[in-house]
Amino acid sequence: MTWIARLRLLTSVLLVLALTAGLTLVFNQRQRQSASVSAAIVQPRYAIAAVAPGVVIDMAVALGDEVSAGDVLFTMASVELQQDAVHGLAASSNDAMDIDPVTGVIVYRATADGRVTELSATPGNYLGAGAAVATIVRSSPRAVEAQFLLTSRDYGRLEEGARAEILLPDDRTVVGDVVSASVVTENGKAVTRALITSEELEGEDLDLIATDGAPVSVRVELTDDGVLAGPTDALMDFLRSVGLR
């Protein structure tokens, strides 16, 4: 075997080793991530219910309306409230409602900005105390609720504050943090539910894309304290700096 042939063989073997090392780092990078099996945007929502039985006398909003804090939602007239006032049990007004104990009229107001997503009464309806009238979904803060199938070993590697990448329906990626996690068992499989928040989700241009219930996919990073942690980070930093990630 000539020296040139030996050198060529050696070079090829070294190249293969380098390739395998690169592939191993890619594998390790994948190993310390977990992809969600399902995930969706969740927005805080609050329901408005009648505080006293009565009749809806005016509806100021329609389904789907944008409302701001302090906007009037609807007005009810309550005979019971009037009687209570007569007996000295007058309720007082607050942010959510203006109460006129003399006439028994209650004006319900929005306490935060949002959108009316449910409306279950029209003027003239008689409602009992505690009956749901409207649901308002707030536009912020948005969060993502994601489900993962994690082995117990991987669950141990999921930490509060872990970095999570959220892939939105329009292929945009935003970065968030894991806030909390819980585990439930479904069909014999342990499903980890994690709540992820991200300030980037608050952008106004995301109002339609990242609306409540929009499907997204999430990749959370699991902590890696193995020997390959350093090299993998270096590789990922390199890829990020050259623009491949």
Binding site: L9, S12, V13, T20
Partner: protein, 578 residues
Amino acid sequence: MPRSAHDLASVDRFTPVSRRAAATDRFSPVMILLTLLATVGCLAYGVFLLQPSHRGDLIPWLLVIVSEAILVLHALCAMWTVLAGTRDVRDHEYWRARDDLYLLSRLSQRGDPSRWPLQLNGRRVDVDVLITVFGEPLEVVRRTATAAMAIRGRHEVWILDDGRSDEVRALAAQIGCRYVRRLSGGGAKAGNVNHALTLAKSEFFVILDADFVPLPGLLEETLPFFTNETVAFVQTPQTYGNLHNVISRGAGYMQAMFYRFIQPGRNHFNAAFCVGTNVVFRRRAIDDIGGMVTDSKSEDVWTSLTLHERGWRSIFLPTTLAIGDAPDTIVAYSKQQLRWATGGFEILLQANPLSPRRRLSLDQRLMYFITATHYLTGIVPGVLLMVPALEVFFDLRPVSMDVGWGTWVVFYGGFYVLQIVLAFFTLGSFRWEVLTLAACSFPIYTKALVNAVTGRDQAWSVTGAQKQVSPFTVMGPQVCMLVFLLCTTAVGIWRDTMLGRPSIATLWCAVNSAVLLILVVVALGEIRAARTGSLAARADRAKVLATSAALAAPMPLSTPADAVAARHARTRLMRTTS
């Protein structure tokens, strides 16, 4: 009551072993049943892979589907060909011509059987035996030429020396055969034969490679076919005598299936092709196509194809009539396979047998298409080696995770295990060397495909046929693949411990590494053997043993020579009694 071996006198020329060998039918009903079962296994595996619900990730699935489609189609076609070959190619006309082969009127002049005049259809015929030599060792040429002189039936032996060796010329003079040396070297072996055909003018000619020692019955068994005027050539199998190490056994048994079952089957498609040695040609057929086809890596197949296009008939006779050498070093094996595979791909690219421009029957088109694509099955293992690595590194699986182990094993085994059982049954034992070699040869066939597509004639930079070359010169891709698979196996084991369950991908990587490791061990052993010089000696010993065993083996059927001997004995008896 069990009978022990007895000490009775032998009743005939046979021993129990040789009698059983002579009485065995190649196509036993069990073999046919196994072939049918394997066909069912093939089809079931194909259906299993194609089911949409079993599909995994796209890339590995495509790799597996394409690879397995090639393997499954070739396996199906091979089994079809095998089943077609159950009829004997020798018909009534053959046997009649065989009985009358030696000219009766001159039988009174007995003596040297190699001078007995031959006749076909009542007409005297001459035969030339052409031995092509290109730098082979003198002893090899001597053994072949001496054996060629001793073939029964009147014939002339020619040594066609492209190596231009004065020693070979002296050898020819010494043993009394003719010697031809040409001035130009164009057209390789076919060119050499064409040149000799301008001098040797007999009606039939035999081509023998320098290492193929012919048996005395070569002409007796083949010439009777030519009583049919449309027969262009009769090919006999390449039988190897030097099966003394892993490479030669692997390379030799790899051909066994082809010569024992595939070629006989191709007879019935009229698509048995010439393999360049141990073949008897009708001179007129070669004249009809303007000489042997040159300018190709596979001039034998091209010559056959051209003859078939001109309407000639070819015959393959599955009887061993010459014993030669299989390549017994990795370098020799690689060179041989590269040459054959490049030739095969050349046919596919330059003369696609399915093209309407070729004047072939549908039977022949299919058979030549199988020949031309056969070496794709050699590239497939290289593709399949990468599939487990995709799972280890990228989590990409060819088959859906929902398919259970049991289902997978049943269908996978239905194809591969049955194929191996069939090979086991036809070859008489499990030849792991063939599997090893087949799994490790993908770089050779890939290179052949590249060579054929680009039209380049690129071989390894191996110089000198005789000089010992390190096997690692040609094993670069295999060594790299081994390193890659070993690393992948290690990563796979790490991954499995992390995930807490064993995976089939890791297992495959480990098995494939082991197979490639065997090749490296063989290569190291070869280097050691080359140092001590024991390789050539062992090969020689093995071949001598095989040749003498073939010469001593009694024939189940009486030969024309037996008939002559019997007639002679009868006349002598009559003479003594009168």
